[in-house]
C-alpha cells in the first residue's frame, strides 16, 4: 500500500474509532439518566465506566492491521530526526560505510562478472565450453580438424562454435583512415550458436568460411568510430593488404570473445588463416588453438553431452593416434573467461573480495563505535523511555531501526558511487606500455545479483553495526545513570568498544601486511638478475610476414637492418633476435634427443629455445662461459651449432664441458653441435626458476618476426625515434612502437604493479577507516572521563601524566590488535605464498615496519583525540555536566 493511502486510511480509521467510542458514552449516558442520575453526573459516570479513553484507543490501535508498520514508520521518522540532529557523526558514519560499500560493490561486481555471469548470448544457460585434456591432464585447446569432427558428428549440441582465445593487433584501413586496430577471429557459426543478432546488416553464418570473397563484421564501437555510417554494409576495409567486405555490425553488448578487450573487426577462421598466411591452422591436427563453445539441444542434458564428447574423442584418438592419442574432450559451464584461467581468476577475485570485505568489516566496527559513542550521550533519553514503560525489546528495535537507516543510506551511497567507476571500466581506452593503445570493455555489471548481495551486505552491516550499541545502551540502569555517576578508569562499559577497536586494528594490520608483501615481492622481482643488462638497450620489432616477404627477401632485410643499425650514431653494438627476452613470445619449445648417453632409448626432452645471431650475447651482456658464440663461419650451409645455457649443461652433462656435445632436434632428423655455453637468465618471467635453455643460430633458423636490439652509449630513449625511422625507411610498418628494454621489463611486471596499486589503495582505505574509528573511540572514552580528568588536575596531576595515562591504554589496545593482525598476516603469507616472489613465511622486513607504523599512527591519533580534553581548564571539566 502506498504511504499516503495508509496515512489517509489511518485518519479515517481514527475518526471511526472516535465516533464509536463517543456513541458508546452517549448511549451509556442515556442509560444512566434513565437510571435516575442528573445529566452531568450521568455523563461523568459513563466516561468513568469506559475507562481511560486514550488507553482504550491505544489498545484498539494495537489490534489494527499494519500496526507494526506504523511503529516502524514512527521509529524511522524518529531515527531520521535523531541522525540529522547528530549530522556530523551521521555523515562521518555514512561516508566511511559508504566508501567501504562502494569498494565492496566493485569487488562483488568483478567477482560476479568474472565467475558467475555468462558471456553475452541468448539463453546462456544452455551454453557450455569444450576443451581437451592432454595425457598429462593439462588444459589444451582444440585443433580445427578436430573441431570440425565434433561439430559434424555429435547428436547433443545444436551447434558448436570455435574461436582462438586471442586478439590480434594489425594495420587496418577503411576509406582514408589508416590505423592499428584489433581483430577478433571466430568460426562462421559463432553468432548463430551464441544467438547474437546483428545491429546492422548481417553477421557470419555457416558457410561464410568457404566463400571466395572474404567478409568482415565490425564491432559497434568501431562502427561508431568510423562515422556510424548506416550504409556501411558492402563497403570494404583492408587488413594487412587483404580486402574484406563489411557485411554487418555486431550489437553493442558484444565486444568480442576475449574478456576485457574491445575488438574492432571480426573475421572468420578461414579469413584469419589467409591473413596470417597460416593455412596449417585449418588442416593440422596438432595446431591446437581453438576454444569451443556449444549450445545444448533443448532436451539434452550435460551428462549425455559429456558421454558423447568422450566417445567422439575416443574415435578421434583411434583414427589419429599421433595427434589425438589419450586426449579427451571435456565440458564445463560457460563463463567469460577461458577454462584455463578460471582457477587463477577464482583465486585473484577471491583474495580481492576477502580484502574488500575486511575493509567493510573495519568500516562496520567504525560505525558501531560511533553509534556506541552516540548511545553514551543518549543515556538520558533511554532512561526516560524506560521510566515511561518501554520494554527492552522495544528500545532495541528502535535503536536498530536507526542503524538500519544509517546502513541503508550508506548502501545507497556506496552503490551509486560504485556505478561510476564500473561504468568507466565497461568501455575505456588505455595505452599499455609497449603494446600501445587498447580498448578495454570489461563490462563489469552491477546487475541483480550484485544488487541482492549489496542488500545482504546492508542487512548484515545494519545488524553488525547496530546490535552491540543497541543492546548495550538499552541495558536499563536507572539508579546509576540518574545519580550522575563519574566514570573512572575501567568502567567495564568500554570493553565492547575496546574489543571492536582491537578487531579494527588487527584487520588493518592484516591489510597493511598484504600491502607490504606486495611491495616486497615487487621489490624482489625488480632485484632479480635477468641474466642480461637491460640498461641502455633499445629495440624495435618487425613482422616480415605481414609485409609478405619470402625467406630470401627476409634474409636480405636482415642485412639491410644490420647495415642501417651500424650507421646509427652512438650505437655501441646491435643484434637481431626473433623476440625480446622476457615476455610471452620470448621462446619456443622443441624436443631434443641427447646423444652420447649410455641409454640410447631415452625419451626426447622438451627444451625452450630461441634463435639469435652471434652479437646477441655481447649486446645484451650475457656472459660466455665456455666455447664460442656464433660467427660468420656458421652459415646455412655449414653444420648446425647451438649455444646452451649453464643450467642445460649442468643438467644433461654434469661435470663435463658441453662444448662439442651433440644432440638431435626436429624428431631426431637434424644433428646440432654445442658451440658454447652462456650464463643462465630469465626467459619468460622474472619469477621463473632457472631452467635449461638454448640458442639456435639465426643464420641457420630463419625467423619471420625479428627484433633489432641496440646497446646505446647513453639513455636508450634517445634512440627510439631513430630506430623507428630505420624501420619506416625500409618500408616495413611495425605494429609495435620501439621500446627501451627497461620499459619492456617494467611491462612484464605490469600485473604485479597493478595488483600492488590496488592492494595499496585498499590498504590506505583500511588505514584511514581504522584511524577514524580510533579517533572517535578515544575521543569519546576520554570525554566520558572529563570529570575524572578535572579532579585529577585539581589534585595536582600534571598534563603529561594524563597524556601518558590515556596513551598507555591506547598502546595496549593497539598492541593487541597489531599482534593479532601480525599472526593473521603470517597465516595469510603462508596461504598465498605462491602469489609472491621471494617471500618467507615470517617476512620481518614487512612485519616490523607495518607494526611500527600502526602503533605510531595509533599513538598519534590517540594523542590528537585526547589532548583537547586534557588541555581543558579543570574547573570547566568538573562543572561540566
Amino acid at each position: 500500500m502506498k504511504s499516503w493511502r495508509l496515512w489517509f486510511s489511518r485518519k479515517k480509521w481514527e475518526q471511526q474509532l472516535d465516533e464509536e467510542l463517543r456513541f458508546h458514552v452517549e448511549r451509556q449516558t442515556t442509560e444512566n439518566i434513565a437510571a435516575g442520575f442528573a445529566p452531568d453526573e450521568a455523563r461523568r459516570q459513563a466516561v468513568l465506566q469506559l475507562g481511560a479513553a486514550e488507553g482504550v484507543k491505544e489498545d484498539c490501535r494495537e489490534q489494527r492491521r499494519g500496526f507494526w508498520m506504523e511503529t516502524l514508520c514512527a521509529d524511522g521518522r524518529y531515527g531520521v530526526r535523531m541522525l540529522s540532529k547528530n549530522w556530523r557523526l551521521t555523515s562521518l558514519a555514512v561516508c566511511s560505510l559508504g566508501v567501504a560499500m562502494a569498494v565492496s560493490v566493485i569487488g562483488l561486481s568483478v567477482w560476479n562478472t568474472v565467475l558467475l555471469r555468462p558471456p553475452t548470448a541468448a539463453d546462456p544457460g544452455r551454453l557450455v565450453t569444450i576443451y581437451t585434456r592432454s595425457p598429462t591432464g593439462a588444459f589444451e585447446d582444440v585443433s580445427y580438424p578436430d573441431y570440425q569432427y565434433y561439430r559434424d558428428n555429435n547428436q547433443v549440441f545444436s551447434g558448436i562454435a570455435a574461436f582462438p582465445n586471442s586478439i590480434s593487433k594489425l594495420n587496418m584501413s577503411f576509406g582514408k583512415r589508416n590505423e592499428v586496430g584489433t581483430m577478433n577471429t571466430l568460426s562462421d557459426n559463432y553468432f548463430t550458436v551464441m544467438g547474437i543478432r546483428p545491429m546492422l546488416g548481417r553477421l557470419f553464418v555457416r558457410g561464410d568460411d568457404d566463400k571466395k570473397s572474404p567478409s568482415a563484421v565490425l564491432s559497434y564501437s568501431c562502427w561508431k568510430r568510423w562515422g556510424a555510417d548506416p550504409e556501411i554494409t558492402g563497403k570494404t576495409l583492408t587488413l594487412r593488404r587483404h580486402t574484406l567486405t563489411i557485411i554487418g555490425v555486431a550489437p553493442k553488448s558484444f565486444s568480442g570473445t576475449v574478456f576485457g578487450f574491445g575488438t574492432d573487426v571480426f573475421v572468420t577462421l578461414a579469413t584469419a588463416a589467409d591473413i596470417f598466411q597460416d593455412p596449417g591452422s585449418l588442416t593440422d591436427r596438432r595446431a591446437r588453438g581453438l576454444l569451443l563453445v556449444a549450445r545444448l539441444k533443448a532436451n539434452a542434458m550435460q551428462q549425455e553431452a559429456r558421454a558423447e564428447l568422450q566417445a567422439l574423442s575416443a574415435q578421434l584418438a583411434a583414427a589419429f593416434p599421433e595427434a589425438d592419442k589419450d586426449r579427451t574432450a571435456v565440458l564445463t559451464n560457460i563463463s567469460v573467461l577461458p577454462p584455463d584461467s578460471q582457477s587463477t581468476a577464482e583465486l585473484i577475485s577471491g583474495v580481492l573480495v576477502t580484502i574488500v570485505l575486511l575493509v567493510l568489516l573495519i568500516a562496520c566496527a567504525n560505525v558501531a563505535n560511533l553509534l556506541l559513542g552516540l548511545a553514551a550521550g543518549r543515556k538520558q533519553e533511554v532512561l526516560i523511555r524506560v521510566a515511561l514503560g518501554a520494554t527492552r525489546g522495544r528500545l532495541v528495535r528502535q535503536l536498530l531501526t536507526e542503524s538500519a537507516i544509517l546502513c541503508a543510506a550508506s548502501g545507497i551511497v556506496g552503490f551509486l558511487t560504485a556505478l561510476v567507476p564500473l561504468r568507466k571500466l565497461s568501455d575505456f581506452n588505455a595505452s599499455l606500455p609497449v603494446l600501445g593503445a587498447f580498448t578495454f570493455a570489461a563490462n563489469f555489471r552491477a546487475d541483480g545479483t550484485v544488487l541482492a548481495m549489496t542488500f545482504g551486505l546492508i542487512v548484515i552491516a545494519g545488524l553488525a553495526v547496530g546490535l552491540a550499541p543497541a543492546l548495550q545502551s538499552s541495558k536499563p540502569n536507572l539508579a546509576g545513570a540518574m545519580s550522575g555517576e563519574i566514570a573512572v578508569g575501567g568502567t567495564g562499559k568500554g570493553v565492547l568498544r575496546n574489543v571492536l577497536l582491537v578487531i579494527q586494528v588487527a584487520v588493518c594490520t592484516l591489510v597493511m601486511v598484504g600491502v607490504g608483501l606486495c611491495l616486497r615481492s615487487l621489490h624482489n622481482l625488480r632485484e632479480v638478475n635477468p641474466g642480461f643488462s637491460a640498461r641502455n638497450l633499445a629495440a624495435v620489432m618487425v613482422d616480415l610476414q605481414e609485409s609478405g616477404y619470402s625467406e630470401a627477401q627476409g634474409r636480405k632485410f636482415y642485412d639491410d637492418l644490420r647495415h642501417a643499425a651500424s650507421q646509427l650514431h652512438g650505437v655501441e653494438s646491435f643484434c637481431l633476435a626473433p623476440a625480446l627476452p622476457l615476455g610471452e613470445n620470448a621462446w619456443d619449445e622443441g624436443e631434443v634427443h641427447f646423444e652420447d648417453k649410455a641409454d640410447n632409448n631415452q625419451q626426447p626432452v622438451k627444451i625452450s629455445y630461441t634463435a639469435v645471431d652471434g652479437n646477441y650475447f655481447a649486446t645484451l651482456g650475457i656472459p660466455l662461459l665456455a666455447g664460442r658464440t656464433f660467427d660468420s663461419s656458421d652459415t646455412e650451409k655449414s653444420s648446425e651449432v647451438v649455444v646452451v645455457n649453464h643450467k642445460l649443461a649442468e643438467t644433461y652433462w654434469p661435470g663435463e664441458s658441453p662444448v662439442g656435445k651433440r644432440m638431435r632436434i626436429k624428431n631426431g632428423d637434424r644433428v646440432v653441435t654445442v658451440a658454447g655455453m652462456v650464463g643462465d637468465g630469465k626467459y619468460s618471467d622474472l619469477d621463473e626458476p632457472t631452467r635449461p635453455y638454448m640458442y639456435y643460430n639465426l643464420a641457420q633458423h630463419y625467423q619471420t618476426g625479428i627484433a633489432l636490439i641496440v646497446r646505446t652509449k647513453s639513455d636508450a630513449h634517445q634512440w627510439l625515434e631513430p630506430l623507428a625511422q630505420i624501420v619506416r625507411k625500409l618500408g616495413t610498418p611495425s605494429d609495435m612502437p620501439a621500446v627501451t628494454l627497461d620499459e619492456w621489463m617494467r611491462f612484464t611486471l605490469f600485473v604485479h604493479i597493478l595488483t600492488m596499486q590496488v592492494v595499496s589503495g585498499l590498504g590506505a582505505l583500511a588505514l584511514l577507516l581504522a584511524a577514524m574509528g580510533l579517533y572517535g573511540t578515544v575521543f569519546h572514552s576520554v570525554s566520558e572521563r572529563k570529570k575524572e580528568i578535572g579532579i585529577r588536575m585539581a589534585l595536582g596531576a600534571l598534563r603529561s601524566h594524563l597524556v601518558t595515562l590515556f596513551l598507555r591504554q591506547t598502546a595496549i589496545i593497539a598492541g593487541f590488535g597489531v599482534l593479532i593482525g601480525l599472526l593473521l598476516g603470517i597465516a595469510a603469507t603462508i596461504i598465498f605464498n605462491s602469489q609472491f616472489y621471494g617471500i618467507r613465511p615470517v617476512e620481518l622486513q614487512v612485519l616490523i615496519p607495518v607494526a611500527l607504523l600502526i602503533v605510531l599512527v595509533s599513538m598519534a591519533i590517540a594523542y590528537a583525540a585526547a589532548w583537547p580534553w586534557i588541555n581543558a581548564s579543570p574547573m570547566d571539566a568538573v562543572r561540566h555536566i
Binding site: 464509536e20 456513541f23 475507562g51 489494527r64
Partner: protein, 148 residues
C-alpha cells in the same frame, strides 16, 4: 483460581486438558464478577479467551453495537458478569482483524449512527470450536472439583 494450583497433581488431567488453566500471566480481557451487593469487589479474572467466546455467542443471535454487547452480556448473566467496557473494544477490533466478525455503520435503537458487529461464517465456526473447548474444559474442572 484454585483449579490452577491443583491440576498438576493429576498427570492424566494435565494431558487431557491442554489449554492454560492458569492465566495469571496475562489478564488483558477481564470480566468483573459481581458478588452479591458488593459492587466494586476485586475483579475475578476469568479464563483467557472467555471474552471472545462471550462476544461471539452474543453476536450469534443478531448484529449488535459495542454498548449493546456489553449490556446483553450483563443482562443474560443476571448482572453477575460485568464487562470492563475499556477492554471490550480492543477485543472487538481483534476479532474483526481475525475476520470472525464484520463491522458496518447502521442506525441504533435511538436512531444514532452506531457501529454494528455481525458474526461471519468463520466466526460461527470459531464459536462452535470455542464452545466445544469450553465444554471440555468445564467438565474437566468440574471433575477435579468433585473429587477434592
Amino acid at each position: 483460581m484454585k483449579a490452577g494450583t491443583q491440576t498438576p497433581q493429576d498427570p492424566n488431567q494435565t494431558a487431557a486438558c491442554s489449554f492454560p488453566v492458569d492465566n495469571l500471566q496475562e489478564g488483558r480481557h477481564t470480566l468483573a464478577v459481581r458478588l452479591g451487593e458488593e459492587r466494586m469487589s476485586a475483579p475475578a479474572e476469568i479464563l483467557q479467551g472467555t471474552l471472545d467466546l462471550l462476544i461471539l455467542k452474543t453476536l450469534a443471535l443478531e448484529p449488535m453495537h459495542g454498548w449493546g454487547i456489553a449490556q446483553r452480556i450483563q443482562q443474560v448473566s443476571r448482572d453477575i458478569l460485568q464487562i470492563q467496557q475499556g477492554s471490550l473494544y480492543p477485543a472487538l477490533y481483534r476479532l474483526e482483524r481475525k475476520k470472525w466478525i464484520r463491522a458496518e455503520w447502521g442506525a441504533s435503537e435511538n436512531n444514532r449512527r452506531a457501529r454494528f458487529y455481525t458474526l461471519t461464517k468463520a466466526g460461527r465456526q470459531q464459536l462452535e470450536k470455542e464452545l466445544a473447548d469450553w465444554e471440555r474444559m468445564s467438565t474437566a474442572v468440574a471433575l477435579i472439583l468433585q473429587r477434592t
